[in-house]
C-alpha cells in the first residue's frame, strides 16, 4: 500500500502547482479582460475617453484626483495618528488593561467601514460634520485604526532584541524607539498604510454618503450609466497606474521586512516600563477610545430606541445577514487557502514569484467595479459558467478576487519570519510538502493565517462595488442592503443592522479571540 500512497502524493505534487496557477490566472482574467479593451479598441473606442479626461476635462480630472487623494491620504494619516501610539502602548509597554484594549481592537477591526460611518452619522446627523472630504477621511480612518494597532503592534513586538540590547549601551529609550523599534516595525506601518490606502481608494460607501466624488465612485457610476465598460475602465486608469507604482514600492519596501534574525524569533523584546505614567497613559487611551468609538456606538444604541426596533431590524434584514454570514466566512476561507499558496510562492525564489507578484499587483490596483463587470462578462454565458453565475458562486469569486492580494500580503511576513535553515532542515530530512507544512510552516505561521482570515472576512463584509454587479436575483449581501438603507438616514433599521452586525462579529470574534489569547499574552507579556 505504501507505493500507492507514494504515487498519490507524487500525482498531487504534480497537479497542485497546475491547479494553483490555473486558479491565479483565472483570478486575473476578469481584470485583464477589461483592460485589454483599452488596447483592443473595445465597444466605443476606449482610448478616446481617457484622452478626453486628460485633455478636454482637465479641471474635472484634477477635481476627482484631488478628492480621491484627499480622502485616501486623510484616512491613512488619521488611522496612523491614532493607531501607531496605541499599537506601541499595547505591544511594547506595560500599559494596564492592554490585552482588554487589544481584544476590543481585534473585534472592532472586523466591523465594516459603514458601521463606523453610521455611528458617526447617528451622533452628528446626516450633516457633514467635518466637511465632505474630511468627513469621509475621518470616518474611513477611524474605521481602520484597529488594523493599524494590530499590524504595527505585532511588528513592534517582533523587533530585534539583540539590536535593542546593543542600542541600550549607546543611546536612550527615545533613540532606541526611533532608530530600532520603529524601523523594525516599519513593515507593519507600511503594510497597514498600504492596506488602508487601497481600501479607501476604491471605497464607494462612505464617499457616497458624504456626497464626495472620487475615482472609485466615478468608475462605479460610469458602469451603471451604461456608456460601455471601456469608458469606465479608461476612467480607472488615472488611479490604477499610481496604485500599481505604490504597490510596487510597498512590495519592495516589505521585501526584506518580516525576516527574522536568528534570535528574534525565539527571544521576546524587552517591554518599556511606563512607571508613574501608567495611569495617565491608560486614562488617555480610554478617553480617546470612549470619545471616538464608544460615544458614536452609544449613539447607535440611542438611534435604535427600543428593543422592538432591533427585532424589526432583524426581521427586515435577517435574510441578508444570514446570507452574508454564510458567504463571507466561506469566501474568507477560500481566500486564505489561495493566499497561503500565493504567499508561499512569493517567498521562494524563482520566476514564478515575479509573475504571481505582477498578477497580485494588478488585482490590488484595479477598482472593484472593473473586476465585477469583468467577472460578469466572463461568467454570464451559456453552460457551466452561466450556471455558476446564477448561483452565489459569483459572489464568492468576487470576494476571493478582492481579498486575495491583501491577504497574501498579510501572510508573507509570517512565512518570511521562519528561518530558512529550519525550512531546509525539514526538507533535507526527506519530508514532503505536507510534512514541511505540518511540522514547520503551520506551527510558526498559523497566527498570520488567522490574521489573514480575519482580514479576508473584513474585506468580504465590506465589499460592495464589485459584488453588487454579480449578485444573483433574490439574494443580497448585508453591505448591498445597507448601501441602500444608509441613503435613507440613520433610521432604527439601519442602526439596528449595525448593532446586530456588532453582535455577530462578537459571536465570531470571541471564540477566535480565545484561540489567539495565548499568542496575544505572549506578545504583550
Amino acid at each position: 500500500m505504501g507505493w500507492i500512497r507514494e504515487k498519490c502524493i507524487n500525482v498531487v505534487k504534480e497537479v497542485l502547482p497546475l491547479v494553483f496557477w490555473t486558479g491565479i490566472l483565472a483570478c486575473a482574467l476578469p481584470s485583464l479582460m477589461m483592460f485589454s479593451r483599452l488596447v483592443g479598441g473595445g465597444d466605443e473606442g476606449a482610448v478616446s475617453p481617457l484622452v478626453g479626461i486628460l485633455w478636454n476635462s482637465l479641471p474635472r480630472w484634477i477635481h476627482l484626483m484631488g478628492n480621491t487623494v484627499g480622502v485616501t491620504l486623510g484616512a491613512v494619516v488619521i488611522s496612523l495618528l491614532f493607531g501607531l501610539p496605541l499599537g506601541f502602548f499595547c505591544f511594547r509597554t506595560d500599559l494596564p488593561w492592554r490585552r482588554f484594549i487589544l481584544s476590543l481592537c481585534l473585534l472592532s477591526g472586523l466591523l465594516p467601514v459603514y458601521v463606523t460611518a453610521t455611528s458617526w452619522m447617528a451622533l452628528c446627523g446626516m450633516a457633514s460634520f467635518l466637511g465632505r472630504w474630511l468627513g469621509a477621511a475621518w470616518v474611513t480612518g477611524l474605521a481602520y485604526v484597529p488594523w493599524v494597532v494590530l499590524l504595527s503592534g505585532i511588528s513592534f513586538a517582533q523587533g530585534d532584541p539583540d539590536l535593542e540590547d546593543a542600542g541600550r549601551m549607546d543611546g536612550n529609550q527615545a533613540q532606541i524607539a526611533w532608530f530600532v523599534t520603529l524601523r523594525a516595525g516599519s513593515w507593519g506601518i507600511a503594510a497597514s498604510s498600504c492596506a488602508i490606502a487601497f481600501l479607501s481608494l476604491w471605497d464607494i460607501t462612505v464617499t457616497d454618503v458624504f456626497v464626495i466624488r472620487t475615482f472609485g465612485e466615478e468608475v462605479f457610476t460610469q458602469f451603471q450609466l451604461g456608456f460601455g465598460p471601456s469608458r469606465a475602465v479608461a476612467l480607472a486608469v488615472p488611479v490604477t497606474i499610481p496604485c500599481l507604482f505604490l504597490a510596487i514600492v510597498m512590495t519592495r519596501l516589505m521585501r526584506d521586512l518580516g525576516k527574522s534574525t536568528s534570535g528574534g524569533i525565539l527571544r521576546p523584546v524587552k517591554r518599556l516600563s511606563l512607571k508613574r505614567a501608567k495611569v495617565p497613559c491608560l486614562a488617555l487611551v480610554l478617553l480617546i477610545g470612549l470619545s471616538f468609538w464608544g460615544v458614536p456606538w452609544l449613539a447607535l444604541v440611542k438611534a435604535v430606541k427600543t428593543p422592538q426596533n432591533l427585532l424589526s431590524a432583524w426581521r427586515a434584514t435577517s435574510k441578508e445577514l444570514l446570507y452574508t454570514l454564510w458567504m463571507a466566512p466561506l469566501a474568507a476561507t477560500c481566500s486564505v487557502l489561495l493566499s497561503t499558496a500565493s504567499a508561499l510562492r512569493l517567498v521562494r525564489p524563482g520566476w514564478g514569484r515575479w509573475i504571481l507578484g505582477g498578477i497580485l499587483l494588478v488585482l490590488v490596483s484595479v477598482p472593484g467595479a472593473v473586476t465585477g463587470v469583468g467577472l460578469a462578462e466572463l461568467m454570464n454565458r451559456p453552460g457551466f459558467l452561466g450556471r455558476l453565475y446564477d448561483s452565489s458562486m459569483g459572489v464568492v469569486c468576487i470576494y476571493v478576487l478582492r481579498s486575495l492580494p491583501l491577504v497574501s500580503l498579510a501572510i508573507v511576513p509570517g512565512l518570511q519570519r521562519i528561518p530558512r535553515a529550519l525550512w531546509e532542515a525539514v526538507e533535507m530530512e526527506g519530508g514532503g510538502w505536507m510534512s514541511t507544512w505540518r511540522s514547520a510552516l503551520l506551527p510558526l505561521s498559523w497566527r498570520f493565517l488567522l490574521g489573514g482570515w480575519f482580514l479576508a472576512l473584513l474585506l468580504c463584509l465590506s465589499e460592495i462595488g464589485a459584488s453588487f454587479l454579480v449578485m444573483p436575483p433574490g439574494k443580497a449581501t448585508l453591505s448591498v442592503r445597507f448601501f441602500t438603507l444608509i441613503h435613507y438616514g440613520v433610521y432604527p433599521d439601519a442602526a439596528g443592522i449595525c448593532l446586530l452586525l456588532m453582535g455577530f462579529v462578537a459571536g465570531i470574534g470571541v471564540p477566535l479571540l480565545l484561540l489567539v489569547w495565548p499568542t496575544l499574552r505572549r506578545y504583550t507579556a
Binding site: 450633516a127 457616497d208 503551520l442 444573483p472 441613503h487
Partner: protein, 346 residues
C-alpha cells in the same frame, strides 16, 4: 495538525455545503415555478407586494433591487449586459423613459395581460411591450422653517434664481426620475434651453444628492431650504410631521405643468420564465396592487379608473400636467445624460 483534524475540517465544510444545498432544494421545489423581477421601485414599497404574489400563487419571486444612487439605470444596464443570456423575466421600472429605450433596443417582448384592459390607452404601449401603473409627481419640497410663507418657489425655474444660491438641491440627474425629468425637459424645451437651464443650476451652486430620498431628508433636516424630489419621498417627510410643505411646480394654467411619471412593467425578451412573468405582470396591474400602492407610505397615484383609493397627493385631474412626449424623451435620453455628465459629474 493531524490527519484526523484535516478530515474533520473537510467533513464539516462538506456538511455545511450539503445543508445549504438541501435548504435551497427545499425552498425551490420546481425550477420553473419562479420568476425573476428587476425592480427599480423602492424595496420597501415593492417587496410586500411581491411577497404577497408569492404567497397567493406559490411562484417563487427572486427580486433584484436597485440602489438609491444608481436608481433605474443600474438595472436597465444589467438587462442590457445580460441580453445574450437574460436572467430577468419582468422589469418593474419606477419610470417610463428607460423602459421605452429597452423596447427600442429590442430587449422586451410583448404580452397582453387581462388586467391591463381597464387602464387608459395613454398608459400602455399599443403593441403590449409595456404597461404603466401607479404614477408619482415631481414636486418641490420646501422647509417651512427656512422659507417664509408667500416666498415659496412655484416653478422649477426658481432653482436657478440667485436668492436661492447654494440652498437648493436635486438628486444626481443621471439616475432615476431626475434623469427622466431632464430627458423630458430636453423633449419639451429643446436641447439649447435645457442645457442653459442646467448651466444656470450649476452657477447657482445647486447641491447634488445621491437620490431623491436624500434630497427630501436634507430639506426636512434643514440642510436645504427646498429641493426637487418625488411625491413618494416628499409625502413621507410630510407625514412624519417635519416642517415641510409640498409644492407642485408649474401646475397653474400658465405653467409648463407638473411632470407625472408612471411606473412601468415589461416582459424581458427571451425571459427564462415567460409564463410566470406574464402572471406577475397581470397581478401587478390588478386594482388591488394600485390600491395598496396608493394607500401605502409612497402614496402613489392610481392610473386605473377602477381603483377607488383616495389619493393623498394631487393627481393629474387636479393639476395641469406637463404634456411631454415620452418617446421623444426616450430618444433624447442619451444626449441628455451626456450633457448632464459633462456638467454635473463634479
Amino acid at each position: 495538525m493531524s490527519k484526523k483534524s484535516c478530515m474533520l475540517g473537510l467533513f464539516i465544510l462538506l456538511g455545511l455545503t450539503q445543508i445549504d444545498c438541501r435548504r435551497r432544494a427545499e425552498s425551490h421545489p420546481k425550477e420553473s415555478q419562479r420568476v425573476v423581477v428587476y425592480t427599480a421601485l423602492d424595496r420597501s414599497f415593492s417587496e410586500p407586494i411581491l411577497r404577497k404574489f408569492q404567497e397567493e400563487t406559490g411562484i417563487e419571486v427572486l427580486a433584484k433591487y436597485d440602489t438609491e444612487s444608481t436608481k433605474t439605470v443600474g438595472l436597465v444596464n444589467a438587462i442590457r449586459a445580460e441580453k445574450a443570456r437574460p436572467r430577468c423575466d419582468v422589469f418593474w421600472n419606477n419610470e417610463i423613459v428607460n423602459t421605452m429605450r429597452l423596447k427600442e433596443e429590442g430587449l422586451l417582448q410583448p404580452c397582453r395581460p387581462e388586467t391591463a384592459r381597464s387602464f387608459p390607452e395613454t398608459f400602455k404601449d399599443p403593441d403590449g411591450y409595456w404597461y404603466g401603473l401607479a404614477a408619482r409627481a415631481r414636486v418641490l419640497l420646501v422647509n417651512t422653517d427656512l422659507v417664509a410663507e408667500g416666498e415659496e418657489p412655484a416653478s422649477i425655474l426658481d432653482l436657478a434664481k440667485k436668492r436661492w444660491k447654494g440652498r437648493t438641491g436635486i438628486a444626481k440627474p443621471l439616475f432615476g426620475t431626475t434623469a427622466t425629468h431632464v430627458a423630458c425637459l430636453f423633449a419639451y424645451w429643446g436641447e439649447e434651453e435645457t442645457e442653459s437651464f442646467l448651466q444656470s443650476l450649476l452657477e447657482n451652486q445647486i447641491q447634488i444628492h445621491g437620490g431623491n430620498k436624500q434630497v427630501a431628508l436634507a430639506v426636512s433636516e434643514g440642510r436645504l431650504a427646498w429641493g426637487l424630489t418625488d411625491t413618494d419621498d416628499a409625502i413621507i417627510e410630510v407625514e412624519r410631521g417635519k416642517p415641510v410643505k409640498m409644492i407642485y411646480p408649474d401646475g397653474t394654467k400658465d405653467g409648463v405643468g407638473v411632470l407625472f411619471i408612471p411606473n412601468t412593467l415589461s416582459l424581458v425578451k427571451e425571459a427564462p420564465h415567460p409564463d410566470e412573468g406574464k402572471r406577475l405582470i397581470g397581478y401587478l396591474l390588478s386594482p388591488k396592487v394600485e390600491q395598496q400602492l396608493a394607500e401605502g407610505a409612497s402614496a402613489q397615484i392610481p392610473l386605473n379608473p377602477q381603483v377607488q383609493a383616495e389619493a393623498r397627493v394631487k393627481t393629474p385631474k387636479e393639476l395641469k400636467s406637463m404634456e411631454v412626449d415620452f418617446e421623444k424623451a426616450a430618444c433624447l435620453f442619451e444626449k441628455a445624460a451626456a450633457t448632464v455628465e459633462e456638467h454635473f459629474l463634479l
